[in-house]
Symmetry: C2
Subunit: 232 residues, 2 copies
DNA sequence: CTTTTTGTTTGCGCTGGCGCAAAGAGCGAT
DNA sequence: ATCGCTCTTTGCGCCAGCGCAAACAAAAAG
């Protein structure tokens, strides 16, 4: 994997870093490659590194003692993750598990270093705080949806969100392609694989999406939004 | 309301602030009093101030377009809230509504000032980031609970959490008193007032709690925890 | 003390969504 | 081409939890 200090300019959380800063971060970090289905870290592990994804795709999830799990976030290249431990001195433990959805590589920044960098450069902290507030806002909205909306709306919302964040627009019309299993979508929507399957089937019948094995093509995004809003 | 710079030492988010810092913050702020059921700010308002609660109790909630709402957080004195706008330059808008549950007073810190204070004093930013990470961890757990656990467990969990955060221990045994309506608890647990009522009735029959009008006394906390864990 | 307001309880019927089970389909490996 | 693995679909039965409605209870107002 080729990661250069220059590539780090794409990292939103580090947007106000200087070239020197990025070089320093780069020099103090190591690259970690994880193959599909492997883990960057597990919930409960000591949080020693913050990560910047360079290639592949990673999902952050949380499980309860019984092993049921929810997907909290999907990470695409040049997003930072696992940075919670960079801030806390006390019990720096990852609160989530980071699993590679495909072969992935990431820059692992030692928190001891990252922490002192933040202490010396307030403008870096703002980048991190901005990311945190964005995430807080998103998860609060999702929390509200989970509490107040019904499954159909939540699944539609999940697709809309995914399409916006990491959908690949196909050539002609407004087709947006997503690579997720029914189980994945269920864990993102707080429902079951069966219910997701039934909903996708119905939407396919209506021509809103096209479904395949671990693939969902959104044909009429606008219609999905209507469903998400409860107007269908 | 008497708020002194010294009192601000109790604010966890400002724990590493110097006396001078606290004085400066104090001098640049104003006190806002809001009576019961009044609002400090509404979801969507321009986020011009960060608040530190001095007295009373405030709940942070979010509503959807249809007006259904969820309670995200309950603020007790010397907690900071509404600080999301302090960090973001772009669209500083409160993502939640802050409503007083009783007559309350808070120190309103102008974000323009607070922001520059953070820029100049990295150690202050760490206090804020710490608060943010704590909150992220809590809401992620609650999100998972909402997605994977059943109502009985969630309501029990809500009571356990409330008891831990702001329960007042009664003299003798381990009684913990809480002042919330069934509706409040429902909005914190992602369920309905009816279901909460039914559950509380049953638990009262079993002697786990004592219920009153806008009052819940936890008699056997340990038993509640068992229910929350799904072992009852 | 009486009235009004606000919060609580509980019976009842309904249904959204769960989850088993079994069949079907897509994809990689040999 | 065929096998085998994994993911998906769908019929079916079930029940947790919703929400109306009406009675009840505790405060607050007058």
């Amino acid at each position: 994997m080729d990661i250069s200090p220059d590539a780090l300019k794409q990292v939103v959380a580090l947007q106000s870093a200087t070239d020197d800063d990025l070089h320093l971060i780069y020099k103090n970090s190591v690259v970690r490659s994880v193959e599909e289905d492997g883990y960057f870290f597990m919930q409960g592990d000591e949080a020693a590194y913050s990560y910047v994804l360079a290639s592949g795709q990673v999902k952050l999830m949380q499980s309860n003692p019984q092993g049921q799990q929810v997907n909290l976030r999907t990470i695409s290249p040049w997003q930072m993750y696992g940075a919670i431990g960079a801030v806390r001195k006390d019990n720096p433990v990852y609160p989530v598990t980071a699993q590679a959805m495909e072969n992935s590589a990431a820059l692992a920044i030692p928190n001891s270093f990252f922490r002192s960098a933040l202490e010396e450069r307030p403008y870096l902290a703002f980048g991190i705080m901005n990311q945190m507030t964005s995430y807080i806002q998103e998860i609060q909205i999702r929390y509200r949806e989970l509490a107040t909306e019904k499954v159909e709306q939540r699944v539609a919302n999940t697709l809309v969100r995914l399409a916006g964040q990491l959908g690949v627009r196909a050539t002609d019309e407004v087709k947006i392609e997503l690579a997720f299993s029914r189980q994945d979508v269920a864990e993102m929507s707080g429902t079951t694989l069966y219910t997701v399957s039934r909903l996708l089937s119905e939407w396919e019948r209506r021509g809103v999406i096209k479904a395949g094995r671990e693939k969902i093509i959104v044909v009429k995004p606008h219609e999905l939004v209507r469903i998400a809003d409860g107007k269908a």
